[in-house]
């Protein structure tokens, strides 16, 4: 309490460990009344942990969290809320089938004579929305609102508790540019009312517009807190990246980069509203192409278009010179395109089935005859994949749900090798995967490329791109804004292109 009345939230000397991972070490952070503070850092830098500490979701192993003069003892979300900290998370928590007013008062509906007081609830909702400059009818269903409006309702709900500190965790990541502007206007309104805001985002243009100061984090530490006014994008990126890259075990150069083969897929002026506004690039046989971009930049949508899972609004996709857009996923699969989804747990694995069966789902034909499975062939296919990708499992029949994330991911990639795919579209294949498995996946991709397979590697962790890619392109603002070729792939340049203003 050095400056009573000014610091409304203070973290001092906080450390936090999850298993073997040191998420935070010795973090000091102080937020003053009415200040808008940007929180910057790469994935895994510790931003989310800081938010969880401030919101009372978790307590630090060492150090303390003080909110409005009261020191938190252990995790206590309710107490943190009473002390004035409200958080709006990235995932929306509204109930789409209920009205805006019902959502705003969720769980604390005003009552009269044992019934919900509709009139009062709607009047107060209207007032709350007006304060944010929103013109929405309180009786509308939330499900009918745009994502941006839902985001705003979420913010309005947090403000209903009269917070002194509002935490916004990537509030714009799922929004298009025009909608982002509306959210920022709302944040400006909040700032002028004297509420402090902690704003997490990867987009520097937004931060520059609303934040007074920025705290940059890296590897669980606060690097510095500086006023936004005289901070260049390049400086920010330099602080975010640090001198890493050298620490990460590099893929053996011998597995080697070589001349890429003929063009396998050509993407031409592909647009998908609101994320993609005309994307053009090509993928060659025998190369690993990195596709970088921050959360919400349209990476997933682009991969889905390439795999035929989604039809573009305009533009074309060609595979070996023949158009495949609009012909569907089955057609693309038949030609040799394979895709692994970003959300491995919900879209990738079939947890109850064995490793062996999860592997061969893409092509039963290789292990069966007239629809009858040949157990011996299934076993051989599974053992071969397990050996070649160093999958750690005692028995090929173990349900895949029992394996670690990295081993699951290898099998999910292995499916497409089993199917003989020539173009692999991998959406964040290293997310939630331990260091060793990461290195093994990099190595696997290099081997595949050497054998002539084309790989598109999507990652939001820019510093892994130069470890594995022959070429990297950056997606931002719905377009490809930068391209680099090995060995000159620089994390800083990619990151700058991905987060800077466009």
């Amino acid at each position: 309490m050095t400056e009573p009345g000014t610091a409304i939230a203070t973290i001092s000397g906080a450390s936090k460990q999850y298993g073997a991972v040191q998420a935070l070490s010795g973090v000091d952070l102080s937020i003053a009344r009415g200040e808008v503070r940007a929180l910057l850092g790469k994935n895994g830098a510790g931003k989310s942990t800081v938010i969880r500490l401030l919101a009372g979701v978790e307590a630090p192993d060492e150090g303390s969290v003080t909110l409005g003069g009261t020191r938190l003892q252990g995790p206590d979300v309710q107490l943190a809320q009473r002390l004035g900290v409200m958080t709006v998370y990235q995932e929306l928590t509204l109930i789409p089938e209920m009205t805006l007013a019902e959502n705003l008062f969720m769980g604390a509906w005003p009552k009269r004579n044992g019934q919900i007081d509709q009139r009062r609830m709607e009047d107060e909702s209207q007032a709350a929305l007006h304060r944010l400059g929103l013109d929405l009818h309180p009786r509308r269903l939330v499900g009918e609102l745009s994502i941006a409006d839902q985001q705003m309702v979420e913010i309005a709900r947090a403000l209903a508790n009269d917070p002194t500190l509002l935490i916004l965790d990537e509030p714009t990541s799922s929004l298009a540019a025009a909608e982002v502007d509306r959210v920022l206007t709302v944040v400006e309104t909040i700032r002028s009312s004297g509420v402090a805001v902690v704003y997490v985002s990867h987009r520097l243009a937004e931060i520059r517009r609303i934040a007074d100061t920025a705290t940059v984090m890296r590897d669980g530490r606060v690097i510095d807190t500086l006023p936004m006014a005289n901070l260049t994008s390049r400086q920010v990126v330099a602080m975010m990246v640090g001198e890493s890259g050298a620490e990460t075990p590099a893929v053996s150069e011998a597995a080697g980069r070589r001349e890429a083969g003929p063009v396998l897929m050509t993407v031409r002026e592909v647009a998908v509203a609101p994320k993609l506004a005309g994307v053009t690039f090509e993928v060659r046989a025998g190369e690993v192409l990195g596709l970088a971009g921050v959360l919400g930049s349209g990476r997933t949508e682009l991969l889905q278009v390439m795999a035929g899972l989604r039809e573009p609004d305009s533009g074309t996709v060609e595979f070996e010179g023949k158009r495949i857009d609009g012909k569907g996923f089955t057609h693309a699969k038949k030609l040799g395109v394979g895709i692994t989804p970003e959300d491995r747990k919900n879209d990738g694995i079939i947890p109850e089935l064995g490793v062996d069966e999860n592997l061969v789902l893409t092509d039963w034909g290789k292990v069966s005859r007239f629809g009858v499975i040949k157990p011996q062939q299934l076993l051989i296919a599974a053992q071969r994949a397990i050996a070649s990708m160093s999958v750690r499992t005692r028995d090929p029949r173990t349900p895949i749900g029992h394996l670690s994330g990295g081993n699951q991911q290898k099998i999910v990639i292995g499916r497409w090798l089993h199917a003989g795919s020539r173009l692999l579209l991998l959406d964040e294949p290293t997310r939630g995967v331990d260091v060793q498995a990461k290195a093994q996946i990099y190595e696997l991709l290099r081997e595949l490329a050497a054998a002539g397979t084309a790989v598109v590697f999507v990652s939001s962790e820019m510093d892994e791109l130069n470890l594995v890619c022959d070429r990297a392109v950056v997606l931002a603002g719905g377009r490809i804004v930068a391209e680099q070729a090995a060995p000159a792939i620089e994390t800083e340049t990619l990151l700058l292109a991905a987060i800077a203003e466009h």
Binding site: F329, N346, E352, V372, H402
Partner: protein
Amino acid sequence: MSAVQTQSPPSRRSRFSGGVHLSTQQLNEAGLAAALILLIIVLSFTAENFATTANMWAILGDAALVGIVAWAGTLVIVAGEIDLSVGSAVAFWSVILAELDGRWSLPLWLAIVLTLVGGMLVGALGGWVRARFGVPSFIVTLGLYSALRGLAQFMTNSLPVPIETNSFLDTLGGKIGQVPTAAILMLVLFVIFAFISRRTTFGRSVFAVGGNARAAMLTGINVSRVRILIFAVSGLSAALLGVVFAARLASGSSSAAVGLEFSVIAAVVVGGTSLSGGRGSLLGTLLGVLFITVIGNGLVILGVNSYVQDVVRGGLIVGAVLINMLLLRRGGAESR
């Protein structure tokens, strides 16, 4: 019973270190088998005339009236779907068989073939509505449940439609030696379905779709095709049971098999198949069918009031599933 042995899925082995390797599924099946044996022993001592050979065959014969559709029903539930229409479908197709054979004077074999094909097509139609438009199968088959029985009653004025019997129908509705023919049919179908569920690409696709339909779709499995097929198979099974009913009663009856869908669902879930899909076994369902039939048979022999019978049956079904869930939770905790 070697098919029964291959049925127990080795793929759900949980990681008990050393000693016995039992998956939760196998644990459940073993428990259910033990409960069944215990039930039979208790009834042998308490109910007179229970432990006779004739009664044992009778139990198998009764079990067939659920089992013949419960095998397909297991696949339906493993796929994450539900089929509420089977009872009505059995009645409807028994009537159609009687009409085709009687009023239309078609040869019996042709009438049977048309009945079976019809059952399959109506099932496939329901599956298509489910797959193509995303209408929940609960709704689609609820509609069929109402429509098929209504249609059967409308066609017959709720009166039985007699069928001219012959030796084939007599045998189908009767016994071969001491063994009810329906029981033999049930066991043959059991072996076939156990094989389909473990060893065919179709069967494994059913598990994949039920376990995670989105992931299955992203591997290129034709999810719609799988869904249409399982309802076609379920419809075919119902039509087959309709033929068996007609043979047994020597008539087509619009009031046959009332409530069959719930007996099937009860047998399937008692057998350890998850209502949310992706997990289950046919051996479990076989044990579930026997469990439910033995309870019913015992209560009748004990002379329990028929309304009270329903109460007891309800309690035992919920109890069996509850124990199953508790076992599963324990198994899940240990493998973590």
